[in-house]
Symmetry: C2
Subunit: 333 residues, 2 copies
Amino acid sequence: MKIAYPYLMFLGDAVDQLAAKTANGVKVWRPEWCLGQFRFPECRADLGIPDMSIEQAAEAGVKTVILGVANRGGVMPERWVDELVRALELGMDIASGLHVKITDIPALAEAAARHGRQLFNVRHPTENFNVGDGIKRPGKRLLAVGTDCSVGKMFTTLAVEREMHSRGMKADFRATGQTGIFIAGEGVSIDAVVADFISGAVEALAPANDPDHWDVIEGQGSLFHASFSGVTMGLIHGAQADALVLCHEAGRPHMRGLPDYSLPDLTTCMDLNLRAAKLTNPAARFVGVAINTSTLPENERADYLARAADETGLPAVDPMDTGVGALVDGLAS
Amino acid sequence: MKIAYPYLMFLGDAVDQLAAKTANGVKVWRPEWCLGQFRFPECRADLGIPDMSIEQAAEAGVKTVILGVANRGGVMPERWVDELVRALELGMDIASGLHVKITDIPALAEAAARHGRQLFNVRHPTENFNVGDGIKRPGKRLLAVGTDCSVGKMFTTLAVEREMHSRGMKADFRATGQTGIFIAGEGVSIDAVVADFISGAVEALAPANDPDHWDVIEGQGSLFHASFSGVTMGLIHGAQADALVLCHEAGRPHMRGLPDYSLPDLTTCMDLNLRAAKLTNPAARFVGVAINTSTLPENERADYLARAADETGLPAVDPMDTGVGALVDGLAS
């Protein structure tokens, strides 16, 4: 899977800005790829980029229409289908982050076949993976792990990739979720892989590389999340990470979606993740902590980071605020 | 999924006894369900039960034909299909442990539909599971974990179920792999579930029950197995086990399929499994160690078990040799 850019961001009839969260993430990290947005009149999301019709997008050179939006209900509205068929006719591919498979929509499947275009279901991996073999491979890898889900692993790893590039280091962000896949143009929705192949899929996603090349792997879930820990475990073992970054959100009241479960403290979380990581890379180590402090009053944020640094003995950053330079400093050594 | 018994064990043209390993496991644990075996003339496996034609099986009252055998190549031979169509015509269901889905074989799908029979692909769960919610549920659960794959988790849990029944305890074996599913008549091939739903599938497999009822859950993989640890982690978190049994095979030279990986020692393995288990059940504890000592000379086996008991401070049994009474003793308290 390689999604061609530039993109038209298809927002459809999104009910609010949150419904276009995925599209917004793509626009933040790949603004140069996002030539325009397609919105029906009642759409209440706005990426702040030019509105375009399907025809205008084709003229502007768009290669792929991105469905990075939650649609209402499980069924794709007829007018969406009509517009998307037109996009296929005009030579564009479609990449979808919806739960419904766009390849299962007959009108889209037929139009794609007729016009030789591609349909990508980024939530539904189609590749056949091998089971992980755990064999040590060259190249360096960094993996983000977390105290919980949705604590900034994607943001942190994208920021690390950008920082590495700015220092002239060889680095590739490796996407494991739908937003990341649109941003990278490729990747694997690791939580949608069959359980037996989690670590094998990660081995394929971040394969052998130059000794001085970094794969910066987006994490998923948490070893402390009762719903998704299996995904995280397989991700850790497949990554063979040299460097780990612990991600956390300040003030999170409980594990996401699990009101009965409190978050682990940072050092407990690091200890268990490190034990797991050492199975496939005995040299694995934490290089820092990335904390989303935006939930705190502004005058408390620096103290929070200082305490985290003190508690862990590692650099503690807020990627949106302080940047991630301190994390990358530790990787040259 | 509920597979009706009694069974006809379809061995086809199995090349040797090992190719019929699954069928053999079913016959060992459910001899009263296995009325006969179906073999082509060149079949080199033998379960030691009466040979039957499809017609004889129907007359004997067989309800389901079990494909518990590895077939050569990925394609089902035409003569297998012919016999299985005949079985459907005569009112029997078919349950398959093959990688190929029997529902994808048009002749079988059509015959099943025509005669109102069921086709089960036990390696391919069709149920839609929820993500795990981690909410504490009543009933007691025992889970087998292991230093490695294929170290006797199924055998151990089946032996525990049998021992519990012999003591008048309420207990159900819960199958997580294909052989176990044929033995139980139901279950989930947990390694074939989509990664996001591993713990949720286990919550569905071993649901809320009477306070004095034990679900005895077959384990899979190992937290120390670089290929399958994600499956194991989700299984542990979904099980909310009160009691854990550590399974091991004496003398295993390296992790199964991974020549570069040595096995963890017993206490290291128990420690990591217990930490994981305590996330969803803080009262989780190990009640014993089950070791397959058949790989050792007969005069070394008792010493090996004694050393394991000494090292772990827990009863150490060989289920095939000493039975599992000592494991169940610890569950009454």
